[in-house]
Amino acid sequence: MPKSAPAKTTYTPSELEHFYRQMVYLRHFEEKCNFCFRQGKAGGYLHVYIGMEPLAIGWLNCIRKDWDYVITAYRDHGHAYVLGTPVHEILAEIMGRKTGTSKGKGGSMHLYDIKRNFFGGWGIVGGHTALGGGLAMAAKYRGEDRVTLCYLGDGASNAGVFFETLNMAGLYKLPIIFIIENNRYAMGTALERHAADPELYKRGYPFDMKHVRVDTMDLLQTMSDAQRIIDDVRGGGGPYLVEAMTYRFSGHGAADHERHLYRDRSEEEQYEKRDPIKLFEEYLDKNKIMTREKMEAIDEEAQNQVEQLYEAVDKEPFPDPQEVYDDVYSDMNPEMGH
């Protein structure tokens, strides 16, 4: 793990409890999303963050919320949640309801919370990275000290537009952090089968850009790396490419029931040993910050909260048919009818 500082924490017990609650809540939330899909309560492509929680909870608790910009692909529930989007609106969107973040027009892949500077929520692999570059360019143009976090997958890191974006970010020295969520798979294609060199952090090298590979299974390690890098970029250090080593515990999407086609159980078991929640619990326990009993209580509480959320959201109305024409344009309607 080159360049990455020793895990240290400067967080109070109550902060740590807060992080733990977020980890556990997000895990239950994502499991409920998969449940919704199985029940036909959610459709389309739905991708959960199970095993990858520190990428959202670690990094997004280190930025300046409502100031810094965040953009990611379709595996986006966790980002909206940590940035403060009401979970009711998030689940309502995933369940295609009128009260969702996009009024039911976006779905799981297209969550946005613009007023909280969460810019989505995109489905075209790699495509959003250029938008991320634009967010950072806007901040720099205005002379603001905003940092932009642009997440993408290991598979997305092969996309041409991503390299074009790296070049422009390096050329204009933009305040942006590209976080490659290297969960070792692009759908059913393993890292070694889609990348000429699996060490993806090297992709920053040709663009005069700082680049580093870090472990992100350990939440506090992730946060110390995140804080260091965010401060560096905010301080004018220029763009940064971070290869964040993680693992997708579930299938690619809720519809992927055949993981055995491309990986075997034993591999999964290896990674499950480093389940981010387990690691964090061991830390909290070892350092006497929280008792196992309390952890169980928090876990149960979160599970109930998610259950109640689901019950409540499931009562929300679907969009009205005529809404199909709304928001195509900001100032006019498209031509109607078939």
């Binding site: 295609g96 297209h110 996309a159 692009a186 294609t189 679907f318 199909v324 498209p334 109607m336 078939h338």
Partner: protein, 344 residues
């Protein structure tokens, strides 16, 4: 004759042609071990596949003796532009690559390679080079895939000289036209539809059964009006024809099958018989390929028409996620019936 799904018919066409000609090559995303997102390529990897890493080893003698059977199913990174460009380069050397687009929506990323390179090679080289390339995959909406994954692309492609564009509606046509496409020396866009894969039909087993392009097909005879469409919409038109028949309206259904070249003769003959036409397509109504078909009927059948040429297309909005909204966007048999009644 065998009964099989549209999906199996597409796969059978591919395997028959790969067995027949070692120059036939297939590449795409997750088409190997993963069998393709719509499972169209199930079994191909086991039969012809190779690990990307095995490209390290030059093919062995035996392999070449085995007519290069291996290394013909290649998983690519998620890089549609390079994927299509590689296939085009291979095609220029005489190989016959098939590119699977996980969904045709992603072909938008590769349009420069398709339109500016593949489609123009024969012309720009003054006929020196050919480009026997097939790009296939599902076009149109599936089930709540939202705005970025639900495009119908065939209308755009059918606008481009140098391409051939087909959109079969039935398993047998899918097999016969895909085999034709693979043997064609020009780039062919072969549009499937997520809603058709599970659909069953009779398919001839003759391995040399081909369906030439540029031939539309009357799939239901009728005298009162012509419903004209392709791909999944042909089935919508057939359902609409049933509903109309209950009201004593006898609709003819024309399955266009091939958009470029377009069989105007069959379309015009139908209109000249029925004097009324409705063109149905899933793509956004405004500027979709249905506009071209309607404009031609208006131009060339002017004196035969007893009513304006009607059109039924997808709503002019990005595809929304909520099922209730999505269903509204995609034309169904009732929309067609309404359009027919509006013709007066």
């Amino acid at each position: 004759m065998a009964t099989m799904t549209y999906r199996d018919a597409v796969r059978l066409a591919i395997t028959e042609e790969m067995d027949r000609n070692k120059d036939v090559f297939i590449l795409g995303e997750d088409i190997g071990k993963y069998k393709g997102t719509f499972r169209v390529t199930d079994g191909l990897y086991e039969r012809y596949g190779v690990e990307p890493g095995d490209w390290l080893i030059p093919p062995s003698e035996e392999e070449n003796v085995r007519d290069g059977v291996a290394r013909r199913v290649v998983d690519t990174p998620i890089t549609e532009p390079a994927m299509v460009g590689f296939a085009t380069g291979m095609a220029m050397t005489g190989l016959r690559p098939i590119v699977e687009m996980m969904t045709m929506s992603f072909s938008i990323l590769a349009l420069d390679q398709i339109i500016n390179h593949a489609a123009k090679i024969h012309y720009m080289t003054g006929g020196q080079a050919t480009c026997p390339l097939v790009i296939r995959g599902p076009g149109g909406a599936a089930n709540q895939l939202s705005a970025q994954h639900s495009h119908s692309m065939e209308g755009w492609f059918a606008h481009v000289p140098g391409l051939k564009v087909v959109a079969p509606s039935f398993p047998e046509d899918a097999k016969g036209m895909l085999k034709q496409a693979i043997r064609d020396d020009n780039p062919v866009i072969f549009t499937e539809n997520p809603g058709l894969y599970a659909m069953k039909g009779e398919v001839t087993e003759d391995p040399d059964f081909l369906i030439p392009f540029g031939k539309a097909k009357v799939v239901r005879e009728g005298k009162d009006l012509s419903l004209i469409g392709y791909s999944r919409m042909t089935h919508v038109n057939l359902k609409a024809a049933e509903l109309l028949s209950q009201e004593g309206i006898d609709a003819e259904v024309v399955d266009v099958r091939s958009l470029l070249p377009l069989d105007t003769e069959t379309i015009y003959n139908s209109v000249r018989k029925t004097h009324r036409a409705v063109v149905v397509y899933e793509d956004w109504r405004s500027g979709g390929f249905g506009a071209e078909i309607a404009a031609r009927i208006g131009e060339d059948c002017f004196d035969d028409l007893d009513a304006p040429v009607g059109r039924v297309g997808g709503l002019n909005v990005p595809m929304p996620y909520a099922r209730v909204l999505e269903l509204q966007c995609i034309p169904n048999e009732n929309d067609v019936v309404d359009a027919v009644k509006k013709l007066r």
